[in-house]
Amino acid sequence: MTSIGTGYDLSASTYSPDGRIFQIEYAAKAVENSGTAIGLRVKDGVVFAVEKLVHSKLLVPSSNRRIQTIDRHIGLATSGLLADGRHIGNRAREEAENYRETYRTPTPVQALADRIGLYVQAYTLYSSVRPFGISAIFGGIDKEGPQLYVVEPSGIFYGYHGAAVGKGRQLAKTELEKLDLPSLTVQEAVFEAARIIHLVHDDSKDKEFELELSWVGKETGGLHLPVPHELWVEADKRGREALDEDMVD
Amino acid sequence: MSPTVGPVSRDFNPYSDNGGTILAIAGEDFAVVAGDTRQSEGYNIQTRYAPKVFRLTDKAVLAVNGFAADGNMFVKKVKQRLEWYRHAHGKDMQLRAIARMIQTMLYAKRFFPYYVYNILGGIEEDGSGAVYSFDPVGSYEREACRAAGAAQSLVQPFLDNQIYFKNQTPAIDAPFPRHLPLSHVLSIVTDSFTSATERHIEVGDGLEIYIILAKGKTLSGLGLDGVKGLSEVTSTVDDSDGSASEGESLAEGERIFVLRRELKKD
């Protein structure tokens, strides 16, 4: 951390001499420390999976969810500061409603990512605020078909076939690259997503985690919904088994 | 086009009259508040069951009559204020305080009034039965009895005669009683409504009579044993059953009962 002590990292409105804004990079660090979140854009839909780290046994199961619904057809998975994720979710719902009210048509995912990108970027301009400690995966089905975008703390956003953010993103990306995403179905993608989350989870560092799975596809009638319980159980089981097979090798 | 005939300007009229009639009578240690359940507009019966009488607390019942939309909104706001009072003070508001609150709430809309005639019935702190009547902008007074609504002009003279003994001469050595017994009052109420139903097209379908008893009073003590269609609605009573089985009630304070009767539907 060569930035520390230089005085150039105290404000988002200050560049370092080599043209970097350290506050944004620190925000990205907040994301790197958080449980993994992935999104898969496949043939007929989008699947989200989150490794929700459980820091206390006292927590109620399935509380503090990190996958949110933004509109009928759009989901959001975040990595980073939980509270920032909720704030981005609220803002995204407002933007989606505003788009609907203005154009009387379901919000395209790209338009939403664009608006959230602008919003997040605004928090990189002023000394009075801090950038969001969030990487947000937006996904859903719109007029153009399945869509997947990631908005980063800098406000920049890219479209993806498969996206991974948080702790295990490197390994998750490697796994995603092995898949032929455009030809998978959401049914198949749910199992892949669960497998990847189990794979990237580091048992030695983080003990407990909860697997969150959601999808948008034909099965859901174009709605963003949690994966049905039975399917979740099956995907979770197969994810664990795949892990055990790896261990044997 | 002839310039003499043109459309009449019709400004939006935010009010309507939904008919029906209400009345309340205070006894020595009880009060009775009643209303029919027909809701109408002009010659149309909108529904045969739209309640106009509402339990506010275990010692207060409010009847509202006039423009139904205003009436429902007003009752909703009164109930909300009473809930806030309960949260703030841990007890129900006294009847006379509810009466003053209603006057304040009505007058607050003096220049866009709730087009509603209110009659509040219940038990005072001293255990006496009481009736308060209001005009739409909040003028109010405590009375022994009051009728309001479509058939007020039919019912009020009848009550004046039967409750206040107006235009009656007492027999020698038999002065008029100051208070009437509950069973007698209930007869007057049912007669008022059956008669109003006969003579007024906006009255009918159903009748709901709320009976509020002072602390320690029982139905049997007031000569009302085994009356059919009577159910207790006191808050401390589990109303899943509702049948008013007289005897040991959980209620320690005032008690409220509802008596439902059919009225002619034509």
Binding site: R93, R100 | S9, R10, F12, Y15, N18, Q46, T47, A69
Partner: protein, 270 residues
């Protein structure tokens, strides 16, 4: 035929121009006389009358559901302006609404309720708004707008089925609400309501869906014969355990040959 609604037919009653057969510029009270109360008053526009209107909506309860029906006509005064307008709208999975009155106000209400349903859906808490909640919300919106002297110019029926219980409610532009096992708005309140009550009252828990549809279709037909601002093309919505289903438009066969013999309808010269 020309562009002036004035020449398309007069209202039945000159004193009450219910269907606004007078073009806007010919209506007198357009702020031309009387002094404005404040300098900006003329800048504020409120609905003073409906423009494009729908007529009656009918609804009844039956054994295991409710049925709501309305025709597909939106009139501009006496002109049958739009003949393929849907006046029924599903709100969530348990509720349907049907509206008469101003169609643009109704479309506004549809968007408002859609937004409500989406924001409830995105909570993801497993709860869904039922007909009673939607009716309460809608009633409060209608009453609030009338209290601002800026009403949504509609009469609306709300029908629904949730947790094994049916729901039917009415709300209108001044916030009046009521429930009953048969409901009808507009001319339906005069013409169809007596027919519906006769067929339904006391038999709410016996009527089958087929019987209910028959009762409503018969009433719609009577309305079509008597209400000049109605159409024999209509839709029917059923709400039951399975959810909301709104039918495609249906056309009621009608018979007018009897009119030949009636003075004023037929070809008689005297």
């Amino acid at each position: 035929m020309d562009h002036f609604p004035t020449n398309w037919g007069r209202p039945r009653n000159e004193a009450v121009d219910l269907y606004n057969t007078y073009p806007l510029h010919l209506r007198p009270d357009n702020g031309t006389y009387g002094r404005p109360k404040d300098s900006f008053e003329e800048g504020v526009q409120r609905t003073r009358q409906p423009i494009v209107t729908g007529t009656s909506v009918l609804a009844i309860k039956f054994k295991d559901g409710v049925i709501v029906a309305a025709d597909n006509l939106a009139s501009y005064g006496s002109l049958a302006r739009f003949k393929d307008i849907q006046r029924l709208h599903a709100v969530g999975t348990h509720t349907v609404i049907g509206a008469g009155g101003d169609m643009s106000d109704f479309q506004h209400i549809q968007h408002d309720l859609d937004s409500l349903i989406i924001s409830e859906f995105s909570e993801g808490d497993g709860h869904a708004l039922g007909p009673a909640e939607i009716y309460e919300y809608l009633s409060q919106v209608m009453y609030a707008r009338r209290s601002k002297m800026n009403p949504l110019w509609n009469s609306i029926l709300v029908g629904g089925w949730k947790d094994g219980k049916s729901f039917l409610g009415y709300v209108d532009l001044i916030g009046t609400t009521y429930s009953a096992s048969t409901l009808a708005t507009g001319y339906g309140a005069y013409i169809a309501q007596p027919l519906l009550r006769k067929a339904v009252e006391g038999r709410e828990n016996e009527l089958t869906e087929e019987e209910a549809v028959k009762i409503v279709e018969e009433s719609l037909k009577v309305l079509f014969y008597r209400d000049a601002r109605s159409l024999n093309k209509y839709q029917i919505a059923i709400v039951n355990e399975k959810g909301v289903s709104i039918s495609d438009s249906r056309i009621a066969p009608t018979e007018w040959s009897f009119a030949e013999g009636i003075r004023g309808y037929g070809a008689q010269t005297q």
